[in-house]
Symmetry: C2
Subunit: 370 residues, 2 copies
């Protein structure tokens, strides 16, 4: 076990280090050839478009089941990806996954309002869970999810793929190594232009909130993993054109400032009305910039006084961040380890987001509990 | 009089438009050949290094007097720039400038703590005043300066040179023309690495405060002239290492958020421990970026979705921002017009800075009076 964990438990090992070191020789021998089986719950844009195609890039993970409310779609996807008909489930017979020994992990790729229910049902069915971000509608739901998995003796991981993304890992490594001196300031802007007003992401009952739940959470996550600190207070200001049909129920833009114990200030902007994806760390000796920072691909990284020194990092822990994420939980299952982004990590973000909303509503600084 | 003023009075005319339109044909005829005489008060880095060399680039301004506490330096500079010995003053005989008819305008390039006194004495001596930013130590001082100039019937302008800088003018013009759609978000980071701990800028009694008074004020000014709005509330967070010998008396970093009536959020960072000079305007159809934004020279401007479209603006109102600024007040004197950046503009910034400090101190949002 030589994985280097920093004080927040972020795996700093680059390249194949996680894969190589996470499993000792004896464990590797025991699990040689064994691929952990995933059931994907939800065949929407993310599950179908991003996750399912990644199993071919995995070393320790395989797709064994699908859960969908659309039988024809499920059948088509199953045929395309070699999932047996016996691995096709719907939301009614979902609990019978307990009888399918091929399924080790359930990956919940559903609207946020369904995360808690389908995570808890998976745990009760004796399965480990990978749940997409944001973890749930509320911290109360997150706590219930953690409790259910703990009670069932099952692992719970949140789909924070950037923890497996080489440019982000390299930026963290260089920040921790002191390459920009003492870190003073973190800034991130994350946004995209929301389209269809009928999308579930724009319905509060399904999404739990607007841009911060969906895209601003990347800025919040990055503020925490880049600084390696937990914020002690937040202040936020929301601005939304409520006459815009997209934003009748959820916020468009919300700016939030995070106070960190060391004195680092985190300044984050989340938006549904502009495209933006960047991270800046400013130290007293230079800066680290990522733009795009957290996209599915195409990341760029600069370290120095400006953008004169562009960095190409070593390969991350998987063929890409998606495969790295899938294989990480698979390895945790094989090895009985705790994932680096467990349920508690998702809960922390939701608690901070709740404080951000409270701050915007009450127009005051909200202190966060340690 | 065809100068286009927007609602905040920002001169949007580009190129030579200000010079050409500000003075009608008859006025031009009357003032043909007449150059307005400036006395420079303070032969420090800015007055001597930046301002005095610019008179050769002016059309309507000439250097006629110097005020300095160092007679040898004053004599040397006078000889170099063709100022007669009769135009050399010190801080004791300063008030006798009233007897020098060559002096129309006094340009106060002194530490902030001396701005009010030397502005008021100039007005009492019957001279117009150009005073460097920040205008003074406090809004109370600013009010006294405005009152003194008003009482003397003299003009008062603040040295906000960016209002004469072509890249900034072009950015404003394009933002107002709707090139990035509806403006939603303004962000600016301004900072540099402070050096010598004994510098007057780091002594609170002389500077009035730290980075925001010196460099962060550019972010504040830009937030106002770029949006064309006045903020209605501020929230600020300071972070300073008080053990650093540079920061025993004044702040290092201060982040401040501005709320604008239209819903635009302004996010500004001011710092004395990192080099940064940039402005970003984000609209629902694109963005405008300036980096560096407010340096003495070397500005760059991008308009579009990212940085693919770099803009070279038309020539500004002078050979450069310094000459444009000097000639603007000269023309205002010749033409009896109010400068576009009068004392009231400096007062507005100081009032907002006072609210920023109050917010940081009291850890709460401060509403600004209209």
């Amino acid at each position: 076990m030589s994985v280097d964990l920093d004080r927040r438990g972020f795996v700093l090992a680059a390249g194949g280090a996680i894969a190589a070191s996470a499993i000792g020789p004896s464990a590797l021998a025991q699990t040689a050839g064994r691929k952990v089986g995933y059931a994907i719950v939800g065949l929407g844009g993310y599950g179908l478009g991003q996750i399912i195609p990644q199993f071919k890039n995995c070393e320790h993970s395989r797709l064994v089941a699908l859960v969908s409310g659309d039988p024809a779609k499920a059948k088509r996807v199953a045929a395309q990806y070699g999932v047996p008909e016996s691995g096709i489930y719907n939301y009614e017979n979902y609990d019978s996954i307990r009888d399918n020994p091929d399924i080790d992990i359930v990956y919940v790729c559903l609207p946020v309002s369904m995360h808690a229910e389908y995570t808890i049902r998976a745990a009760k069915a004796g399965k480990h869970v990978l749940c997409e971000k944001p973890m749930a509608l509320s911290s109360k739901e997150c706590e219930a999810m953690i409790a259910a998995c703990r009670q069932a003796g099952k692992k719970l991981m949140i789909g924070y793929r950037c923890h497996f993304e080489p440019f982000n890992l390299e930026a963290i490594r260089r920040a921790r190594a002191g390459e920009i001196g003492k870190l003073r300031y973190f800034r991130s802007e994350h946004g995209y232009t929301a389209g269809d007003p009928t999308a579930w992401r724009l319905k509060k009952a399904m999404s739990g909130g607007g841009s911060i739940m969906d895209i601003g959470i990347y800025a919040l996550q990055a503020a925490r993993y880049m600084t390696g600190e937990e914020p002690v207070a937040v202040y936020a200001k929301e601005t939304t054109d409520r006459k815009d049909p997209r934003f009748r129920e959820v916020e468009d833009m919300i700016e939030f400032q995070l106070e960190f114990p060391s004195g680092v200030i985190g300044s984050c902007m989340s938006m549904y009305s502009a495209n933006r994806n960047q991270v800046l760390l400013m130290g007293d000796k230079g800066r680290i910039e990522l733009e795009p920072a957290t996209n599915y691909s195409g990341q760029r990284l600069w370290v120095g006084k400006g953008r004169e020194n562009e960095i190409t990092p070593p390969q991350g822990p998987g063929k890409n961040q998606f495969a790295g994420q899938l294989d990480h939980l698979a390895q945790c299952v094989l090895e009985n380890r705790t994932p680096i982004v467990p349920g508690e990590e998702g809960l922390r973000d939701i608690r901070i987001i709740e404080a951000v909303y409270q701050s915007a509503r009450e127009k005051r600084r909200i202190a966060l509990k340690a």
